[in-house]
Symmetry: C2
Subunit: 303 residues, 2 copies
């Protein structure tokens, strides 16, 4: 399997357009221990030729241009055969609308996420320009599914969806919550290498048992502490109010997952305020000392 980190920041990216926090301000001023990041997405391939994306970020256009394996090989072509979504958040779905130029694509997501996109948004019709433009494929819990491209050709990777505590996206908060709102995805190649991808995690629980069996993990690294976002947004919400378990602290993911995660593990979906973004900060060093990597755009895993 070939995994490429296309983006590793939470919604808004790093820096965020309207944020002048210490991280964003120092990054803009050229601090050498801070690195810009686009919004969270992974590109995955079994053969290096046919790719699928885990989440389609608003930055997907520049992410594609920055990775030659995703460039077209003919006059009209894309090596991107499919996209799988972990939830309906805009920072995970908006990129679909940037992949709209008449390219056949298969999109995998839960029925709930598909309906939230298609039934309620006229803009999504731009992905229905011809018969077979985008095929929407439902993910069902407990059923491993072989990924295919728009012509039905297998990509050599199977996908399993697992419910993870979370919320519907902000713009659909008027609807009741569902287990299908937010998932982790487990992508397994034919040699058994398993990539676990859980960029949005409100709470741990039984579902984390599967992480132990995975070969490589990308996990929610949005916030370091619960009170980190307070004072920046207008609503005074804490990390947990936004359905993100913080990394640090006694009940944070770093301590709670200790010994239950694969050797190759990354924090991703990192908010611009998170101190782990600053190389050499105590929080950054604590994460690295615990055997985690801080995901950065362009990182790769190959096996």
């Amino acid at each position: 399997m070939h995994v490429r980190v296309l983006g590793s920041a939470a919604g808004g990216g790093f820096p965020q357009w309207n944020c002048g926090c210490a991280n964003c301000a120092d990054l803009r001023a050229g601090a050498p221990n801070l690195h810009a990041r686009t919004q969270d997405s992974l590109a995955v391939s079994a053969d290096g030729e046919h790719w699928f994306l885990l989440n389609a970020s608003p930055d997907v256009r520049s992410q594609i241009e920055g990775f030659a394996a995703l460039h077209p090989r003919e006059r009209r072509h894309s090596p991107i055969a499919a996209v799988a979504l972990t939830n309906g958040d805009l920072d995970h779905c908006l990129g679909l609308l940037l992949l709209r130029e008449s390219q056949p694509l298969v999109v995998y997501a839960t029925e709930r996420v598909i309906q939230g996109l298609l039934d309620r948004n006229a803009v999504m019709r731009t992905l229905d320009r011809f018969h077979g433009h985008v095929r929407w494929q439902q993910l069902h819990f407990g059923r491993e599914q072989a990924l295919v491209d728009a012509s039905g050709r297998a990509l050599g990777i199977s996908l399993l969806a697992v419910a993870v505590p979370g919320n519907p996206p902000l713009h659909l908060r008027n609807q009741p919550a569902s287990p299908e709102d937010n998932i982790a995805l487990f992508a397994r190649d034919e040699r058994g290498f398993t990539l676990a991808y859980a960029p949005s995690v409100a709470a741990l629980g039984d579902w984390t048992a599967r992480l132990t069996e995975s070969s490589c993990l990308f996990f929610d690294g949005t916030f370091w502490s619960d009170d980190e976002p307070v004072g920046l947004g207008r609503d005074g919400r804490r990390a947990r109010d936004m359905s993100h378990l913080p990394i640090g602290g006694d009940e944070g993911s770093l301590r709670a997952l200790d010994g239950r995660v694969p050797a190759q593990r990354f924090f991703t979906h990192i908010n611009n305020t998170n101190p782990i973004l600053r190389v050499g900060s105590p929080e950054h060093d604590a994460v690295v000392a615990a055997g985690w990597q801080v995901a950065m755009d362009g990182m790769e895993v190959r096996r």
Copy 2:
């Protein structure tokens, strides 16, 4: 007035993610006479401190980061006070959803474009996170309107909307066409300097009389010839089928507008297939010889 070209490419940008045409392929290979362009948008200011955007492109995040005048000056802040839209095309509107992080904003557009966005798209609720988050301000034909920020403070620029032949966006083609679907915008400062912005023009007509009186013009440069897009899309549509008057030829805009446009004039919204993108091509040189500039990201007009 200070005008900054944030982006100068048509929908999809240059290069376009799934396009391997000669322009896109040579650009990716590093040809020195081709230059990458993000999607069409201008930033405009009367004082250099308070800005508004003409169209909000999907590339707005990187466009803001690439122009220091648009960076925040406080912990949460943006110099961008308002956005004005020329139509409801995704390459002109999607950027609104990237400006969603709790920043008050005024958006100017025709009633038709506003309704097409708000009434039909649940995702737009993300711009309604608190009272006064985004204020939608209707543009009316024939009525010059003083631009204000969310607190009502005047930006020192007035805006006039003029109907221009065009179409509703692709995803709303099921509705009957309206003169409000597509407009040109004329931004005038207190000293009378007038910026004319018409990035999408299906046909000339009486409306072009106003161009003569303008100080500076950005005009639809999507295609050079009518048959340029044939063979790349799946639908075999020509430039005119997509509501874009080509630049070249006997009936093209270059010849038709000759002598009727201000000295400072640019072609913008340039499709990735357009030969004027290639510096030194006969088409590029014909445009320059006629006194036009080929808009490029980062260009500025100050007066």
